[in-house]
Symmetry: C2
Subunit: 339 residues, 2 copies
């Protein structure tokens, strides 16, 4: 438990000045004679020198840290997103400071403050409605900030999905299988992403000459701290309501995979067969989709790629705003309509 060696220690050890030692150890393009370079390197090795990034950052005002604020990581979708971010950060020589906001605006503001005090080089923020004051302060002190996954109404780069297109693709897939009555397994429209999905669903129906039926837009549901679980419950509940209708829809598009799986469980335990009797399509393509019974057809959001893309945008500042195109992943939960 000895104190860490510093440039000064090395300088003393090899009889050179701190400046010279710094020059070789921070491999600047500065010219140093090969002989002294070797001397410095040898001493550094012997003393187990390890640069102190604090000093360096204080001087250069760059920490190579980036802050990531996510609602929570136990949601597999956010876990995938975060993995994409950390892997990219690793490649680029950056470090990730992780914060869980739990969808709590004051907490988010606090997270931002703390990250700014840490002098992070940038912040990736996934927020439904962030404290505008906190965000403004961040950009005003020159900290890059990027709106991740959820668009925010502020002048900053944004990276997200094309939710509208994704929902259209899902609906069109059902339409192409002959379904005409298509239900929307939704949730409260408290986020832009959800509103965009509902829009896409309606647009696809309209394009196909079908008038959207408000009864088929199920938006009930409660939020809860247990991620995953309440979404399953929402799916179950919505499915129950649909089963009381007649005629009930033959195809269903869900706001996310968890909701779709919950609905499937309700349908199958009521004796309906999937995909023979009805079809269900999810959204996100989380790993569970391969496990459900039957394996879930869904729209892939490419969360992992989105994460790494977001980090690149934050750092490179080119293509400042972009969205990843969704992809249809066909598994076994959708099939031709039976009438």
């Amino acid at each position: 438990m000895s104190r860490q060696a510093t440039l000064r220690d090395i300088a003393r050890h090899c009889g050179l000045s701190i400046a010279t030692v710094s020059r070789v150890l921070s491999d600047s393009d500065y010219v140093v004679s090969e002989a002294t370079r070797q001397r410095v390197l040898a001493s550094a090795e012997q003393l187990h020198y390890m640069p102190n990034e604090l000093g360096k950052s204080l001087k250069t005002s760059s920490t190579r840290d980036i802050g990531v604020i996510l609602p929570n990581i136990t949601n597999p979708y956010y876990a995938l997103l975060l993995q994409g971010i950390t892997d990219e950060a690793d490649r680029q020589g950056y470090h990730v400071l992780l914060c869980s906001s739990h969808r709590n605006a004051p907490r988010e503001a606090d997270n931002i403050s703390r990250l700014l005090s840490k002098r992070v080089d940038g912040i990736l923020l996934s927020s439904i409605n962030p404290d505008p004051e906190a965000v403004r302060r961040a950009v005003s002190v020159g900290c890059r900030l990027l709106a991740l996954e959820q668009p925010i109404p502020l002048d900053c780069p944004q990276v997200g999905f094309d939710y509208r297109l994704g929902a259209m693709m899902a609906t069109e897939h059902l339409l192409s299988l002959g379904h005409r009555r298509i239900g929307f397994l939704g949730a409260p429209l408290d986020r832009p992403s959800r509103r965009m999905m509902l829009e896409g669903y309606r647009a696809a129906l309209t394009n196909a000459g079908i008038a959207p039926n408000p009864d088929y837009e199920m938006l009930s549901g409660i939020e809860s701290e247990r991620p995953g679980i309440y979404e399953i419950e929402n799916g179950r509940e919505s499915a129950q309501l649909f089963m009381h209708m007649s005629p009930m829809p033959t195809g269903y598009i869900a706001i996310n995979d968890m909701t779709a799986i919950g609905a499937m469980r309700a349908f199958t335990s009521a004796g309906l067969r999937i995909p023979e009797d009805i079809s269900v399509i999810g959204f996100d393509n989380i790993p569970y989709c391969e496990l459900s019974a039957p394996p879930l057809t869904t729209i892939d959001q490419h969360a992992y790629s989105l994460g790494s893309l977001a980090l690149r945008c934050l750092l490179d500042r080119d293509e400042p705003s972009s969205a990843l195109p969704p992809t249809l992943v066909e598994r076994c939960s959708t099939g031709p309509v039976k009438e």
Copy 2:
């Protein structure tokens, strides 16, 4: 995009010395007259002062950062663990620097180096066989290091599960339901946790007067980058092999939930009914367990609590090593043996 205000700016602004300003803003117990205190506070407010933690850390040599090194986060078990850590860190006023090691020893060593350069106050490391050199260097420079989840053969605090006991409980649960032929749905014994589970399984059998049958210990399987997926495949494969035996076991204990779910799918698609014909019990209690068909009985590892416990141990340095007792969670995948 103006430069951040510093103590000096505030001092100038309110006509006091930097020292005085520092004293009120770092709310030390130093005595400052109420009048000047108010003056300082007012100026700080006006200039939007935000302390620069870099300067502070450089001076105090404490960053309140802790490094967390995990194989990957897309594994729901690690996601839960990480959530426990971040939530606790938040409560304690610490920040989490996240690294993904991808179970790669050189990469782990590199992660450790980078964290040390960042002068983190501590490191939580989940590793099968870490580079001993890197670990030694960490403790030698006085950075606290705690072995998380996987024990490592070094003198440092450890926090993990009682894998042996967990596997015993799982096996005993099957025994109590009348099962006598019990299969072990395993994986290569490359980690201490897995070896401990096999031990526990054998011990429970022996205690019940049953000689462990080597044929029933299935350890095949390939690792792969896609987490979750290969575990499902391993489960499937092992199940296939078991179905070629006669008599085949009636009860199965799996090394983790994913493997159990994979095996269940193989069994049911071969026409076996769970839990009527055979029983399967998992390990971890990841959220998916509630989704599988049928919902999976399992051993809860309390990953979330382990995360927060680990952080407390790292910081408080009391109860330096401990393990969380596992819990049986009965769902629908286990039942009385039918003979």
